[in-house]
Amino acid sequence: MARYVLRRIVTMSLALWLIITATFVIMHSVPGGPFSSEKNAPPAVMQNLNARYRLNDPYWKQYLDYLLNMARLDLGPSFKYDRSVNEIISQGFPVSAQLGAVAVSIALGAGVILGVAAAWKQNRWQDYTAMSLAALGFSVPSFILSGLLMYIFAYKLMWLPPAMWGGWQHAVMPALALSALPTAFIARLMRSSMLEVLQQDYIKTARAKGLSPAAILVNHALKNALMPVATYLGPLVAAVFTGSFVVETVFAIPGLGRYFVISVLNRDYTLILGLTVFYAVFLMLMNFIVDLVYMFLDPRIKLADDRGD
């Protein structure tokens, strides 16, 4: 186990280094700098700014400095905001993650139920209804969905507050908007994996045992059918927990997602790098956790270096 974890850490670090390097290169080849503005400041002022943020250093030095700071878990100051990148992430991420957790729960719950219902009643109305719902989730772009939700529930019906982060009422619309696509995806994934499982011999065994359909579903089919969903969960959690630009700006959620867009638009170099690193680490971590969960779900799977018995 320890060896396995160690090996994962080594490969993760290597991947991280590659990502930082690539981002650094692309980022600096994009025209425009963090301090360009409509009103051009005198050269002396620009000189001070560049000196302060070390943009006068040669690229290799900036790059090495960044790597060294990274090693100390310091992602540097934001060039645009009066906050450090660490602060921005630690303030935004919890909000995005909370909302993301709600959204993933909805997606998982609704997706699994829809998928199971569709598979269980294959080619009957339940199947068609569930799959039509899933298709809807697939087919509406998030900015339109968000806008429509707000228009209907906040503007017309006035059932929910239009925006901002507060009580549960504030989480309803953004969570729905965030979960539409993953719900649809999980529902379809669940349906096909459930159909696959339902054809397995052990399901027939379970029926021959005289088990009720509910018991077969819960005790024999569900766990086995959930495995492909578990694989998808790693990237999903990584994507949803780090926030969505559209949902966060439309519903005025103070999360992390917006920064993935505006950091680039602002050429906020440290923030771009910081977010990339954070996302990559988080994704790798989630995938690692998924592997562990998988091990729990499927006793046949063992970690590569942990062959017992």
């Binding site: 503005s37 005198p42 001070n48 302060r52 009066d82 239009p162 925006a163 901002m164 103070p254």
Partner: protein
């Protein structure tokens, strides 16, 4: 055109009638409504450090928390702030400010030393504040900031606790007004020395203005409450000012409709027609100009006839009415309305808004004269704009007008904001959308842009006579001569036309009817809530 201005002026008066001081006091006395205003400034501020701030949203928030030496009144007049009175030497170089006995929100007295400390802090090259150059009028300031001089040589001096003496390197009538804005605000030296990141920590944040901050929820809102230690606390009616930081205007609009906002800085364009018809939107003057730059360093816009032809071949009235829709004023001059002339009247009104006329026939003639009859043989050129829906709409309307009126096919190039700035700075464009808002209420902030190699010229245009006129205006103490020089400069600019004015901005706002007494200045700050109240 004149008519439109009058309407605008009337609007301003209507909007500001509620702001009369005496009436305000009475109304507030009777008011039962809770004195809370919820205002959306439409963006997360980059910083709340006055010296570091550069934008209007930051300026707006800071102006409600701090007070400089002076403060703008409801009619754009300069009123005493922390300075009780001031004296300017006849040569316009030495300013002596007498401070009143004001207090910081932590109880410390506000002294002249605080100003010295704050200004030197703003100029410190180590701090690298972008807008430090607003202090470059002060003798020794630029030298210190560029590392060539010492802080002791910056000519700002505390004569005693309540007397501040500033010496400028050249006469600059706009300097007094600048002291009303963030970079020149005082900060509390004790707090600044003790807690370097006080601008981020609301518990440590110490102010000397009408409101003090309690909470800053990033991308949500900043909560301000009345600062009881403010010298004019009596005049402050509001108990609480909630500044929302919602950047999606549509979302803000929905919140306004749902009764969660009282006031929003911006109005969704597609709502404008309906809101105007229903009288729900209030339009304030804005001393800014919307214009297109021409790249005069290369064909075809190196020919002033082509530039004039292009400027004459669009229908500004239609653009303002159908596209921009916020009651903007078509511009046939460069300096906007709302800037005082030497006689105290309006600079624009004095010179008129008619340096040229829209005349398609004349435009065609000019274009033919330049060698492109009916647009034939005209090189492929393109309008550069940043990726903003409104600008793209205007560009498309203009594109069609040029095609129809001149027979010239013009492309549109949309770039991301920073790339666009880069292209504009490096003259990588043919025609470039631009806008300019004043740093201070003086024509100079518009006129000095276009001096040869000026940092914000960005057209490649150069004219010796123009440069001489700007220099004369800059080094003449007398307002009359200064203004005269600038009027002349503007007429050269409009003859040569390196820039094509399109319209003068307005500032449309969504404000609930029961919100009174808000001052909405035409530049630098969106709204001053010092005397605001809820009816």
């Amino acid at each position: 055109m004149r008519k439109i201005f009058l309407i605008l002026a009337a609007l301003l008066v209507i909007a500001l009638t509620g702001c009369g001081g005496g009436k305000a006091g009475e109304a507030a006395g009777k008011a039962k409504a809770p004195q809370v205003i919820r205002y959306n400034v439409c963006t997360e501020p980059e910083t709340l450090d006055p010296a570091k701030s550069t934008g209007q949203p930051e300026g707006t928030i800071l102006t409600n928390m701090f007070e400089g030496l002076v403060r703008y009144g409801p009619h754009n007049e300069i009123k005493p702030g922390i300075a009780r009175e001031w004296n300017i030497s006849p040569d316009g170089l030495v300013y002596t400010f007498k401070l009143r006995e004001a207090k910081w929100s932590n109880g410390d007295p506000v002294t002249a030393k605080d100003f010295v400390y704050s200004w030197l802090r703003a100029l410190d090259p180590q701090n690298a504040y972008e807008y430090a150059y607003q202090l470059f009028y002060v003798k020794g300031a630029e030298e210190y900031n560029s590392g060539k001089g010492r802080p002791e040589d910056v000519a700002v001096r505390a004569v005693d606790d309540l007397t501040l003496e500033v010496t400028l390197k050249a006469p600059a009538p706009q300097f007094l007004g600048l002291t009303a804005f963030p970079v020149l605000f005082p900060v509390n030296p004790g707090v600044d020395r003790e807690t370097r990141d006080w601008p981020k920590v609301m518990e440590k944040y110490v102010v000397n203005g009408p409101f003090k901050p309690v909470k800053w929820d990033h991308n949500q809102k900043i909560e301000l409450v009345k600062n009881e230690k403010y010298w004019d606390a009596q005049g402050v009616k509001l108990e609480k000012l909630e500044i929302y930081l919602i950047d999606n205007i549509d979302t803000g609009y929905n919140m306004y409709k749902a009764g969660q906002l009282d006031f929003q800085e911006e109005v969704p364009t597609q709502e404008m027609a309906r809101l105007k018809a229903a009288n729900e939107v209030k339009i304030f003057p804005d001393a800014s100009v919307y214009f297109y730059r021409f790249n005069v360093t290369k064909k075809p816009f190196n020919d002033p006839r082509v530039r004039r032809a292009f400027a004459m071949a669009i229908n500004r009235g239609e653009i303002v009415e159908k596209v921009a829709q916020a009651g903007q004023v078509p511009a046939y001059a460069f300096v906007p309305y709302g800037i005082p002339d030497a006689d105290g009247k309006d600079f624009r009104q004095n010179a008129g808004n008619q340096f040229f006329e829209e005349d398609v026939a004349e435009a065609k003639r000019l274009l033919a004269e330049a060698g492109y009859p009916e647009g034939k043989g005209f090189p492929r050129v393109s309008i550069l704009t940043n990726a903003h829906a409104g600008h793209q709409k205007v560009a498309q309307a203009i594109q069609q007008m040029w095609k129809q009126n001149l027979g010239v096919e013009v492309g549109i190039t949309v770039q991301d904001w920073k790339v666009y700035l880069d292209s504009q700075d490096n003259l990588n464009y043919d025609i470039c959308r631009s806008g300019w808002s004043p740093d201070y209420l003086d024509p100079m902030t518009f006129i000095d842009m276009f001096v040869t190699n000026g940092g914000n010229n960005d057209t490649g245009w150069s004219d010796k006579e123009y440069d001489a006129l700007v220099a004369r205006a800059n080094f003449t103490g007398g307002q009359k001569a200064r203004m005269e020089a600038m009027h002349q400069a503007e007429s050269i600019l409009m003859k040569e036309m390196p820039v094509m004015p399109i319209y003068f901005y307005t500032n449309p706002n969504l404000i609930k009817d029961n919100v009174k007494g808000v001052v909405i200045p035409p530049f630098a700050v969106y709204a001053d809530f010092k005397n605001a109240y809820v009816e």
